[in-house]
């Protein structure tokens, strides 16, 4: 047993002149070693704990299924949508799966409900449970909403507005377009006629003439050309009668007046024939009217005639009054004559 000298201290200037010697046996480890050991132990403890924790974590992680991250791309979304649709369709069409779902939703004895449903649907049951009851009791299975992204929706909308692209017509690509096969179109001429309307429609003229007038105007404008220069403008105006024609005729535009004779203007007593009395105040009055009209340069022959006719109508409306007056007048005249 070697005695390991741990440390020696010498105190030369003390009385003792002690040499301090510390002894340690072999069994016992040195301080440093001890410290190290302690450290190791501690670290070991820590590491153990850490390990345990790690393991626990890992275990936890392993239980949750780690999914790969799907990057959302347009293609991806489209594919997904298609796949989803297909899946949904399959599920919907597949009787078994449908019945299973329904049974699950109802709850209780799923197998029994399944069997009943199937039997009912296929029509092979003995009991024949009432369909109405079953359907009434069933919950409506909502369609799985197809999740389309907003970008996709916008694209679809834009596509709808796009014109349908036809393949370019080549020499060999002429196909007769079958009208009956077009979507959303109804062919009116395929069905047998009902023979309700046999007579062809007659064109009833519109009470509103604006449209037809405007159409006429448009046609006229399409055919006629506006005047190219001022000369053509002047020509147009002369034809319209806005400008004097050469040689200047003072009576330009007075064609109706030219046709009427002067007798119609001056000799207006012919219009008094038939209705006007031959003697009396009215005759006197009307003759004066005729004289006055005969001297009038500004009225047309027709206007003069109308003037006289107005008086005729007026006197006829006052006939009863006039008769009274005139008979009285006659009486007065007679009395005067008698007196004189």
């Amino acid at each position: 047993m070697l005695q390991v000298v741990k440390s020696i201290r010498i105190y030369p200037f003390t009385r003792r002149g002690v040499v301090n010697i510390r002894w340690y046996s072999d069994d016992e480890t040195s301080d440093d070693e001890r410290k190290k050991k302690a450290k190791n132990e501690v670290s070991k403890k820590n590491s153990d704990e850490a390990l345990k924790r790690l393991n626990a974590l890992l275990q936890n992680m392993s239980t949750t299924k780690s999914q790969p991250i799907d990057m959302v791309t347009a293609k991806n979304m489209r594919q997904r949508a298609i796949e989803d649709k297909e899946k949904a369709e399959k599920e919907a069409t597949d009787l078994k799966s449908v019945t299973q779902k329904i049974a699950k939703k109802i709850g209780g004895d799923t197998q029994k409900t399944e069997a009943e449903l199937l039997s009912v649907l296929l029509g092979t049951s003995e009991q024949k449970p009432k369909l109405n009851e079953i359907i009434g009791g069933l919950k409506v299975e909502s369609e799985r909403p197809v999740s389309i992204s907003r970008a996709q929706m916008v694209k679809n909308a834009l596509k709808q507005h796009e014109k349908p692209r036809r393949p370019r017509e080549t020499a060999f690509s002429a196909k007769p377009r079958e009208r009956t096969e077009k979507k959303g179109f109804v062919n009116f001429f395929d069905a047998t006629p009902l023979n309700i309307f046999t007579q062809p429609a007659t064109n009833v003229p519109d009470s509103l003439q604006t449209w037809s007038k405007l159409e006429e105007r448009e046609i006229k404008l399409a055919v006629t050309h506006p005047p190219r220069n001022y000369f053509e403008k002047m020509i147009l105006w002369t034809e319209q009668g806005k400008i004097w024609k050469f040689p200047i005729d003072n009576e330009q535009g007075m064609d109706v007046e030219k046709a009427t004779d002067f007798t119609e203007h001056v000799m207006l007593e012919m219009h008094l024939e038939g209705w006007c009395p031959t003697r009396g105040p009215i005759r006197h009055f009307m003759e004066l009217v005729c004289v006055g009209l005969g001297k009038n340069n500004f009225l047309s022959a027709q206007e003069k005639k109308d003037h006289i006719m107005w008086y005729k109508e007026y006197f006829e409306s006052k006939k009863d009054v006039l008769e009274e007056l005139l008979t009285l007048g006659d009486v007065v005249e007679e009395q005067k004559q008698i007196e004189s």
């Binding site: 105040p281 007026y314 009054v321 007056l325």
Partner: protein
């Protein structure tokens, strides 16, 4: 009439036209519309005058004579009084200036007030009008 035609022709057409009853106000001295309400009312009166002129004349001839019996004349005057609106009378029409709507001091031949007449004449807008000098 040639004097008047030398002025704004649109104003003339508006005054003469019987069918159009435009109530578009314009600035004074433009002559392209109605300067004020008085002008519009005067225009209404003129239209009525034109409408009833012939009938009124014929009735007046019945009144203004000493040949027909008195009773008939009285009946005619009653009809004139009752059967026609007051504005159908020519006396009610005012010869306003067509530019400024001035009721007094109008030169009837040019349908303008004396002030506008002077203004236009000085700027040589009136055909044949010249400053008097003798």
């Amino acid at each position: 009439m040639s004097f008047i035609s030398s002025l704004s022709s649109t104003a003339n057409s508006l005054i003469r036209s019987s069918a159009s009853k435009l109530f578009g106000f314009t600035q004074k001295r433009s002559g392209a519309g109605w300067t004020d309400w008085r002008m519009i009312k005067d225009n209404k009166r003129r239209l009525l005058v034109k409408e009833h002129a012939v009938d009124r004349l014929r009735l007046n001839t019945l009144r203004k004579n000493n040949i027909l019996p008195v009773e008939l004349r009285e009946i005619a005057s009653q009809e004139l009084h009752n059967n026609f609106p007051r504005d159908a009378c020519l006396n009610r029409v005012v010869y306003r200036c067509m530019l400024t709507s001035r009721p007094r001091g109008t030169v009837i031949k040019f349908r303008t007030s004396r002030i506008m007449f002077r203004h236009l004449a000085d700027y040589n807008k009136l055909s044949g009008i010249q400053r008097a000098m003798w």
